[in-house]
């Protein structure tokens, strides 16, 4: 796959005595969209938080361009984090700021752009995610799906090199979900950035992904291009893609 931009090497992570990542090895290809699928509660969000140093592994390495971020902190970690954008599963908007200030926050903090220019870019991006005219609302006044799209705009506004999306379309109506999937696909194609997406939507996964990885019981049990994934005979993967309750994965 060439030189991966992010690489997990034998990463272990437990909370109390619950093992979440169990020797995870994962390579995120550069300039592609990688979709991580897996069961609810399977550790996808935890994996994503490791990529950006919000959580530290108990054991193992996480390499971003060859640099182990598990060993960094302070300034050095902040420097790497500025290459990332992240959409949180619950949006994680700043409650005390308006929508416009939320989306413009990274620009205010990290660029020298003027106020007018920031306003213009914010409005434009909000229109792109289907939220025209909400600039002056507070996050508490928005619905769950709207908050998520504001979070999406905030993650994209700096056009970062690597963007992590934690379930960008869950909680949206099917039409809006499709629009967001297209937005992700098109901006990725245009910008050639690296996108990592967590998704429960199998159909959309095959539409936007260049690379798919399935996380199960703390490891990657299958990965490859969409075609390779479709042809993969792994019974767990097959059951997951079929989306039925009978098979090797037991619902308890």
């Amino acid at each position: 796959m060439g030189c991966p931009i992010i690489e997990f090497v034998d990463v272990h992570k437990s909370f109390r005595n619950q093992k979440v990542l169990d020797g995870l090895n994962l390579r995120i290809p550069r300039s592609k969209t990688t979709v991580i699928i897996g069961r609810s509660g399977g550790g996808k969000s935890v994996t994503l938080k490791h990529m950006i140093g919000l959580m530290r592994p108990d054991l193992g390495q996480i390499l971003v361009d060859g640099e182990d971020i598990a060993a960094l902190d302070g300034e050095d970690l902040d420097r790497i984090r500025r290459r990332f954008g992240m959409l949180f599963q619950e949006g994680a908007l700043f409650d005390s700021l308006t929508v416009a200030d939320n989306v413009g926050f990274p620009l205010v903090e990290h660029t020298a752009l003027g106020r007018e220019e920031i306003r213009r870019r914010v409005s434009e991006l909000l229109r792109t995610v289907g939220l025209p005219g909400v600039e002056e609302k507070m996050p508490a006044e928005l619905s769950g799906g709207m908050r998520k799209r504001v979070g999406l705009a905030r993650a994209l506004i700096l056009e970062p090199e690597i963007v992590l999306f934690d379930e960008p379309t869950s909680g949206l109506d099917p039409i809006m979900a499709d629009a967001i999937d297209r937005l992700i696909r098109d901006t990725q194609a245009e910008s050639g950035r690296t996108y990592v997406v967590i998704s429960h939507d199998i159909r959309a996964t095959f539409e936007i992904a260049h690379h798919i990885a399935m996380l199960y019981e703390g490891r990657i049990i299958a990965e490859g291009s969409p075609d390779e994934i479709r042809r993969n005979p792994n019974p767990i993967l097959a059951q997951f893609l079929r989306g039925t309750a009978d098979g090797p994965i037991q619902v308890q």
Binding site: I52, D78, R81, M86, E90, L93, F94
Partner: protein, 375 residues
Amino acid sequence: MAARIEVEIPAGAAGEAVIHLAGDWTLGSGPPAGADALDSRLDGVARVGFSAAALGAWDSMLPVFLRALCRALAERGVVVDRSGLPEGAQRLLALADAVPARVGGRRDGAGQRFLERLGGDTLAFLATAGRMLAFLGDAVLALWALARGRARFRFRDFLAVVQEAGAEAFPIVSLISLLVGMILAFVGAVQLQLFGAELYVASLVGISMIRVMGAIMTGIIMAGRTGAAFAARLGTMQVNEEIDALRTLGISPMEFLVLPRLLALVLMLPLLCVYADVMGVLGGLLVAVGVLDISVAQYMAQTWASVRPQDLWIGLVHGVVFGVLVALAGCMHGMHCGRSASAVGDATTSAVVTGIVAIIVATAVITVVCNVLGV
């Protein structure tokens, strides 16, 4: 029919046993007959199955008994085949195994011995003190970054805290310090009148308010008002993942959130202290003039003569130290808040408790130091 349990060892199957459950296994029916013989009957058995053919009604007594039994058997290395159990009981057992007991969910605190509790509390206090020191270290690093002009924080946030922690605290600080001044004067006057030394009420109120009481009262008010507000605000941000979002933007929450609060409180607390001192002296004056027949001029002259400049300085030092402590306690408990709404409540409570304890301990330390230095 009462609960019964029997062990059958089928002929021909070496090391295997079937446990028969019979009768009604309900909480009212008493302990099962035959349970005490289990131990000897299962000696040398490597594999156990169940039969529930004669089982009547059952309630939670059955799974509780079976769980204890399965545990004991598993400890001996016996393989347990649960497939012969009623389906409901199997599911309950699976559930009981799947979910570990919640830590702290059981209320057995009352059974703890006094010394044990004391030890636990002491360790918890030391742990809090240790965390506070670590947090202080981080805050100093952030201050250093600020001094080099590399810290990111918004002046606007600083002003907002100054407004909230300073200006909006005026009414309550006025009320409390005025009353404390009056109480000191009343209590002192009763004693001083015995010696005909009523005028010294002015010295008593002036020195105690300006040197420590003004600062302590302001510190405690601020711990309850502002320290709690800091903890609630930062705790909510933690729950809402806002702090994580800041981190992902490469912004240190220590610089962005804690520094403005710390600086604002370190600035405002001494100022409020001076204000509290004035209100306290005013309270003393009201009592002196109203009750003791001392004139305003006499009272002020006596205050002026007895309060030394170093009393004011020491009061201000108290104020600065309390500002640091209250801000740190509030911010620390907020930043270390768990990820649930109830954790925010706990963080707020802890912030107030830690703040007040820290204020009292610091007062003791400063008093001893002043004593040694002779000021």
